[in-house]
Amino acid sequence: MAYSEKVLSHYETPRNVGSLDKNAKNVGTGIVGAPECGDVMKLQIQVDDSGKIVDAKFKTFGCGSAIASSSLATEWIKGRTLDEAMAIKNTEIVQELSLPPVKIHCSVLAEDAIKSAIHDYQEKNGLDHDHADASEHTKA
């Protein structure tokens, strides 16, 4: 399988690999996927008082495209507000990384990971859920 240059770049030097303290109140953690399916993504956000994502980290078990999708996701959400991060669509990831059709699920998973991390943060802090749901992906 031929990977795009951007996928290779994220795969060779993934951005924001690591973990934040999952017990901290200002940290939201999302874990999505399943080992049997070949992808598990963990994405974490650290949010400041104004509701802005000031740090993001990830770890991914998955193919090069899954690693690149989650790496890109952390890059994109850093510095955004929760609402802005919530609005990121998997299709934007597909476009940016030039993912082939068989790898679209990687971008879907990355979008889910962002949303799941935000939900976790909101739940921890007694905030309202934004109703963006994992089920409304646009399949490219």
Binding site: I31, V40, M41, F61, C63, G64, L109
Partner: protein
């Protein structure tokens, strides 16, 4: 000396031709081009001499009489001829066949076809070590069993089945034994009489010979095995396989067998040392890595290792300078985990992150060192990235987690 990349570590898939094999073949493309079946002129005789020598060379490697060698296009054809040929010839005696679930497709699929035609097939399942035992075979043999087909050594694991013992069981019960010895021939001692084998498949391209040439050993005495041919025509090969012989390929196969016979001891000593170095180098630096299949009952140049918590495709991407086979049978778009690894009870995700390393005649120690280094670096990097590994380090049982469906 700088290493030439990529490094070939997939000798169970195929091998480069030995230059000495090529040299033996060359005259048969041009000046000795005759049809070995042409009985009345020099050209035919010359070609026939080449084929005769090759029969001796192949027979010499496996302890068979030269007359017992039937030329084919490779092991796929040999397996088909043996299995379907015996099934048809002996159908009035019985219709029960015994094989194992982790055989090569070239055995599984002929057996499946026979099952569809009304034959009864018993599919033996190996224990977690991958070995098919003589006891399993003995327990499966019935009154109406006409054929046992069990491979000598497994192509994905390198594991060696209980071969002389399985042959003994079959002899005692009077059942024909076919063995797909594609991976064993030339790598470990193979003797059809000592092992009680009645039919044996082998292929040139796995032993530094050309692609598209193989053989089926068919026993002529005690018992005299008969086969219904698959390919009818001019009656070549005692009527069992018609068609003008692939003289160049056969000459190459013969030469390849001769070289294996003469150099096996030395080659085994060298390669098993390198293979053990590869195993040690990887296992000593990666605590979760495990060898698949019975480690002390394997071909000397093969190893199959799983890397838990690391995903297979990203693993292959990280070691792309090394040509290996992964535990994924990559069928077009979908990644299917290897049925051989699943037969050992491995989960899909572990099967995906398993790698077969196949060393060969031209593998150097530098290449092995490079491979150890690359694999260890790649796995360490991917473990660093792996949320599963992080959970394991935190003491979380990842098998107990209810993962979402995706």
């Amino acid at each position: 000396m700088a290493l030439k990349l990529p490094i070939y570590m997939d000798h169970n898939a195929t091998t480069p031709m030995d230059p000495r094999v090529l040299e033996a073949m060359l005259p048969y493309f041009t000046e000795k081009f005759g049809n070995s079946a042409s009985r009345n002129h020099e050209f035919g005789w010359e070609a026939e001499d080449g084929v005769k020598l090759a029969r001796k060379q192949v027979g010499g490697l496996i302890g068979a009489d030269p007359k017992e060698i039937i030329w084919t296009s490779g092991s796929t054809e040999s397996n088909n001829l043996a299995i379907k040929g015996v099934a048809d010839m002996y159908k009035d005696k019985g219709r029960h066949i015994i094989t194992a679930i982790h055989e090569h497709k070239a055995t599984l699929d002929p057996c499946k076809r026979l099952a569809k035609m009304g034959y009864d097939v018993t599919w033996l399942e190996p224990a977690a070590d991958g070995i098919v035992t003589a006891k399993q075979v003995a327990e499966a043999i019935r009154e109406d069993t006409i054929l046992v087909t069990i491979m000598w050594a497994n192509n994905e694991l390198g594991t060696i089945n209980e071969l002389p013992a399985i042959g003994k069981v079959c002899k005692e019960k009077g059942v024909l034994l076919h063995t797909d010895a594609t991976q064993a021939v030339g790598k470990i001692p193979v003797d059809v009489n000592a092992a009680g084998v009645d039919l044996l498949s082998g292929s040139a391209h796995k032993i530094y010979g050309p692609k598209g040439a193989g053989f089926l050993y068919v026993r002529r005495r005690k018992p005299r095995v008969r086969l219904t041919p698959i390919i009818d025509g001019g009656g070549h090969e005692r009527g069992m396989r018609s068609g003008t012989l692939n003289v160049t390929g056969i000459v190459g196969l013969g030469k390849a067998c001769e070289l294996c016979r003469l150099e096996m001891d030395e080659e085994t000593a060298r390669l098993s040392k390198l293979r053990d170095k590869l195993d040690q180098g990887i296992l000593s630096q990666l605590e979760h890595a495990v060898i698949n299949g019975k480690a002390d009952q394997r071909l000397p140049q093969t190893t199959n290792i799983s890397f838990p918590y690391v995903e297979g495709e990203s693993m292959m991407m990280a070691i792309k300078e090394i040509a290996v086979s992964s535990g994924s049978a990559c069928t077009s778009a979908s990644l299917e985990p290897s049925y051989v690894l699943k037969a050992l009870g491995l989960g899909d995700e572990i099967a995906h992150s398993s790698i077969r390393f196949g060393l060969g005649r031209f593998t150097t120690e530098e290449e092995v060192d490079f491979t150890i280094d690359k694999v260890v670096t790649a796995v360490k990097k991917l473990l660093e990235l792996s949320p599963l590994y992080e959970m394991v380090l935190e003491g979380i049982d990842i098998n107990a987690i209810e993962w979402g469906a995706h």
